[in-house]
């Protein structure tokens, strides 16, 4: 029994807190100090969660199953973990931490799971619609400015939104091309002009584990009507944001917590021929919205 008595002389972790201390110790030799900081903080908080709720083995199994299904729901056109991050408010907290902007700069909001590379480059006023899905034409115009109010020429606006049926192109199985996406450049006066449809409220994807969780929590899956923008320009800090339609439902209970007052914009109805219909060459009925994006200089 000499082997046995020798090996059991070592003091081994026996309580939950012993285990936490031992796991933290094992991360001490992480090469990258930032990774060490993140992993040790993660271990502390996850262990504290398990201890606080006294998680049962059955609940642990449900958690493992939930995470597994969430990962397996992800593919080239679906990002269920971003959706989970969004509905838990994690995306907005990260967004606030990562995008502290000087006063006057356009505020950011969630990126969401529906951005795609390869949106078509369009001229000013070019139409984001590549197929007919109904809805009311919207002309969204404004400028991209610096903090002093000077126009930024050749700024890039990467724009995307859901179609009037509430679906992004990647959710629309009848589509074999992009729709409701476009990249626009500002002119020498910093002006841009987007042609699209008035955005509509829509339900976030609820056929996966995240949707199940929202239903169990009796939470609304709706997002208020919005258009996504990533606005960038050389020498400036880019902004990932939305503009929200002030006339939309669900501005007070966005499923992903993305609404900020400064991003709410009036969409003005034009039901008869007027100055705007002549200016944009669009027959009524249509709506217009105006929004100026303000970029802060690049820091770091």
């Amino acid at each position: 029994m000499s082997t046995l008595s020798a090996v059991i002389e070592k003091v081994r972790p026996t309580t939950e807190d012993d285990i936490t201390a031992e796991v933290l110790r094992r991360f001490e030799n992480t090469t990258d100090p930032r990774l060490r900081e993140i992993m040790q903080s993660l271990v502390r908080h996850v262990h504290a969660f398990i201890k606080d709720v006294q998680l049962s083995e059955k609940e642990w199994w449900r958690g493992i199953d939930f995470l597994t299904k969430t990962g397996q729901k992800c593919d080239a056109e679906r990002q269920e973990f971003i959706l989970l991050s969004d509905v838990l408010g994690v995306s907005m907290v990260t967004d606030l931490i990562g995008n502290r902007k000087p006063a006057g700069a356009t505020e950011s909001t969630v990126f969401g799971p529906f951005h795609r590379h390869g949106a078509p480059e369009l001229p000013p006023g070019g139409d984001m619609r590549s197929v007919e899905r109904g809805g009311i034409t919207a002309m969204i115009s404004g400028r991209v400015l610096d903090l002093q109010g000077h126009p930024i020429a050749n700024a890039l606006l990467d724009v995307w939104q859901a179609a009037p049926d509430g679906l992004y192109d990647v959710q629309d199985t009848t589509l074999d091309k992009t729709n409701m996406r476009g990249k626009y450049r500002t002119d020498a006066q910093g002006r841009y002009l987007v042609k699209s449809t008035r955005p509509v409220p829509y339900m976030i994807q609820s056929d996966g584990p995240v949707g199940q969780m929202l239903r169990a929590a009796n939470r609304s899956p709706w997002r208020p009507a919005h258009v996504h923008f990533v606005v960038s320009a050389d020498g400036y800090s880019p902004v990932t944001t939305h503009i929200f339609d002030a006339g939309s439902q669900y501005l007070n209970d966005d499923a992903v917590f993305g609404v900020k007052n400064s991003l709410i914009v009036d969409f003005v109805a034009h039901n008869t021929a007027d100055e705007a219909s002549r200016q944009f060459g669009v027959a009524p009925p249509f709506v217009t919205a105006e929004y100026d994006f303000v970029l802060a200089p690049l820091t770091k």
Copy 2:
């Protein structure tokens, strides 16, 4: 501008802590009070983690990517999220919380990702090896007892372990059947007898995201030599546990924090014919190990 001024009158979350409060509020209507408790605690702890480390957007993206790849690594024979839970010590903390046993009862440890249903039922002394993978024969024997030391007849022992090459059958792509698994029953005196090979230390699966994380943390992927058991009997609380070989390396730095002193057992070498070789009908060299499992009565 009447719509706009009306909707922006509402006070909206603007700081990170406002977002946390709003997310907690949204879970208030969860039907199941236990689910509400778990989700609200999870939100508090995950938000606290993000704020403590001031997680950057780039780091958030790495986290999303890590979780996605972890889920996508899972299939019928691979459970990368259990592996993640194991190496973060989450499994052991949950195990300690869920398995508070009376003094004298056999302690539990991690279940691990390699259990499979459908292991063959074997008679006492039946061999768990269905293919030849080398190694030294091990005869593991003992009794299943109640807290008063009385034998429990007809108790079920579900036993599995890695082969001498360090692989479980599900990892061995050359195998089309189970190997190193068996279900045994105790006799009227509570005795069981397992025939297998002496367990070896092995590396946890390191070809996935969890392995990458361990390498970045300079953490050892090794587990000390052990045999898995789930021991159950009518009227008793089942125990999920291992027995560890006292002569094994890595007893002090098990990658999944599973070692407990009470589970370390001497594996005794028999290099010449002796009483044990006659008793078990096994030619030397072989090893024997003895362990009595003690089950607590079923509670609740």
